[in-house]
């Protein structure tokens, strides 16, 4: 059994050992405040684990440049809001270079956020879940819910020849799971059904997978809930969701990101267009709000299990509109 955070650390260590082109860059990565790169400088050398000054744009672009000439970079961002500073270098540079150069450029860079989302009291600038921005831009985006998937998806991201953003939700960094000793990958773009059900499919994102599983257990005597974990937000596993909806016909998306133009909105919209739903789909999301400091207020803007239960019951009461 490994903790989620330890699974990320193991994946990074295994990939550094597996491929000499891999290097790690970021703020405080040698001391490793988040624990993902702890001890790696001693093991692999400081030339493969680079502590940088607080210069997010430059070190993000630096990774792109190194990748353009054959290296494979892993950048750690200690808080999700740092992605806003580096956004131009990720979305407008790293992501667009392959197309803009007509396929000449390859930019294998992984952006790891080990601690995304709210975690009680970190307030407005440390509590975002900014994955929808990257999905919107078409950047490969990964959000593992379990330690097993954290290892396999992080390793797959590092081996991928395109930029990949990996969000590790703060709420699950301590969750334990079986993680095999030998290296493995979970392919990008493959979803996972954690629990089968027949009445409604709940697409739960990141740490909310565990919450959805808890709800499914709570209501098991009354409602059969299927829990679908996308694992990769872009590309999304539409085939697996189509299979799931063909069994249940009903959909609720449970997503801890802002509501407007959020990830949940995309799933609901595409499902409405393309999948055989028998009732209107629903979303349970964060409010379109800045996360306030006080814990009572923070909880009030985040999606909750009670809201999910309500949405599940509502969708079961409704029939397809003519």
């Amino acid at each position: 059994m490994l903790r989620y955070q330890a699974a990320l650390a193991k994946a990074l260590r295994d990939e550094l050992a597996n491929d000499e082109a891999v290097f790690v860059i970021g703020e405080d990565v040698r001391e490793s405040l988040r624990g993902v790169s702890r001890g790696l400088a001693a093991e692999f050398g400081e030339e493969r684990v680079l502590d940088t000054p607080i210069s997010e744009q430059a070190f993000t672009g630096f990774a792109t440049g190194a990748a353009l000439v054959g290296r494979r970079a892993v950048i750690e961002f200690q808080i999700p809001a740092l992605l806003f500073i580096a956004f131009e270098q990720i979305v407008d540079q790293a992501h667009k270079l392959r197309l803009m150069t007509g396929g000449q450029a390859s930019v294998p860079v992984t952006y790891l956020v080990p601690g995304s989302g709210a975690r009680l009291g970190l307030a407005g600038q440390h509590s975002d879940n900014p994955y929808s921005y990257f999905v919107h831009a078409g950047v490969k985006t990964v959000l593992p819910a379990t330690a097993h998937d954290a290892y396999g998806l992080f390793a797959a991201a590092i081996r991928d020849d395109d930029p990949v953003v990996v969000f590790a939700p703060a709420a699950v960094l301590g969750v334990r799971d079986e993680v095999p000793d030998d290296p493995y990958v979970v392919p990008l773009g493959s979803g996972r059904i954690h629990r089968e059900g027949t009445d409604v499919t709940v697409v739960a994102v990141g740490h909310l997978v565990h919450d959805a599983l808890a709800l499914a257990e709570e209501v098991a005597g009354e409602i059969s809930v299927e829990v679908f974990d996308p694992r990769t937000l872009y590309p999304f596993d539409w085939e697996l969701l189509a299979e799931s909806i063909s069994r249940t016909g009903r959909l609720v998306v449970y997503d801890d990101a802002n509501r407007s133009c959020g990830f949940a909105a995309e799933i609901v919209a595409t499902a409405a267009e393309e999948l055989p739903l028998v009732a209107p789909p629903r979303r349970v999301t964060r409010a379109d709000a800045v996360v306030p400091f006080a814990v009572d207020l923070e909880r009030a803007v985040l999606p909750s299990r009670a809201q999910l239960a309500t949405a599940v019951r509502q969708t079961l009461r409704e029939e397809a509109r003519p």
Binding site: T52, G61, T64, G65, R71, G189
Partner: protein, 318 residues
């Protein structure tokens, strides 16, 4: 000298023909012409090796030509044809040729600087003496990402050369109204050798850049060279229709007296110069004919090259 003049002449005539092609709607959008600044790219790239890397700017045609790009494929790119360097996916502002170390022109000011730093670091870590050069303008000198890159490069003693092409204007804002202090002093404050050079004199640029490149190759870290130059044309092709008043005809005429091609051309025998000019026209005629004969890309291929191995989602439901 003949080779330097020839390169500058190719750039000049490539750009003049490009303006005609934009005005004739053979090239879509606008381009940012390098006319007036030819000595900078030519002088700098004359002291580079083919396996060194450069990052370029929105005004990038000159850098590519000087680094050795095939002008036929450059024209094909600007015309949006499949034989373009970027297979018609980049156009003027993103033109690149990674096979000769051009990591890309760039539509965002100074955004290529950290790419050059990363490449320079990777070259050193691989145990080679390859170096990288990043070109940017007087506008770029005020971008945070460039100043962050100054720090990283100096701190890590990267084999990198910063070439500031001070053409006097960031679009319409003059350097004197945009930049506090001196650019050279700003760079020098990071602890790297920094100097200004006459950017209209290709030999002077080559000497100054040559020193910077030698330091980088010898493991002595980054340097900064401010090349004082001028663009004879507008910020982009469309500017002539905009009736802007940010600079005077007298000022442009004054700089044209120091046309880098005239300065370099005067150092050649007239017959030599005429022969080069003639040869360049023939090259460009042939290159443009190649580009015009190249196929247009197919709409069904519009989603290619977004990912290593993934089809993007289309704009309609399947």
């Amino acid at each position: 000298m003949k080779e330097l003049y020839r390169t500058m002449r190719v750039i000049r005539r490539f750009e003049e023909r490009t303006v005609d092609l934009v005005n004739a709607n053979e090239i879509a959008g606008v381009t940012h012409e390098y006319v007036g600044q030819e000595a900078v790219a030519t002088g700098v790239c004359s002291v580079l090796r083919r396996d060194d890397a450069i990052t370029s700017t929105h005004r990038g045609h000159g850098h590519l030509i000087a680094k050795g790009a095939d002008v036929s494929r450059m024209f094909a790119e600007l015309l949006g044809r499949v034989d373009g360097l970027n297979r018609a996916r980049g156009g003027s502002m993103h033109i690149a040729d990674l096979s000769i170390g051009v990591l890309g022109a760039n539509g965002i000011v100074a955004a290529g600087a950290p790419h050059a730093a990363g490449a320079a670091w990777a070259f050193r870590e691989a145990g080679t003496d390859r170096i990288a050069v990043t070109f940017f303008g007087d506008g770029g000198i005020n971008q945070g990402v460039l100043l962050e890159t100054f720090n990283l490069a100096a701190l890590w003693r990267l084999p990198l050369v910063f070439i500031c092409e001070n053409n006097g204007y960031a679009v319409t804002l003059s350097a004197e109204h945009s930049t506090a202090g001196s650019m050279v002093d700003r760079a020098a404050s990071y602890g790297m050798p920094a100097e200004a050079v006459d950017g209209m004199d290709v030999e002077a640029v080559a000497v100054s850049a040559g020193r910077a490149v030698a330091r980088a190759r010898a493991g002595e870290g980054p340097s900064f060279v401010e090349c004082r130059t001028y663009r004879f044309f507008g910020h982009h092709t469309a500017e002539r229709t905009m009736k802007l008043g940010y600079r005077t005809d007298e000022e442009i005429a004054h700089w044209r007296e120091r046309d880098p091609l005239e300065l370099a051309g005067a150092r050649l025998e007239p017959a030599e110069r005429a022969a080069i000019d003639q040869e360049v026209e023939a090259l460009l005629d042939e290159s443009l004919a190649f580009a015009r004969a190249s196929e247009r890309p197919l709409a069904e291929d519009a989603l290619a090259f977004n990912y290593a191995a993934l089809e993007p989602r289309r704009g309609v439901a399947r």
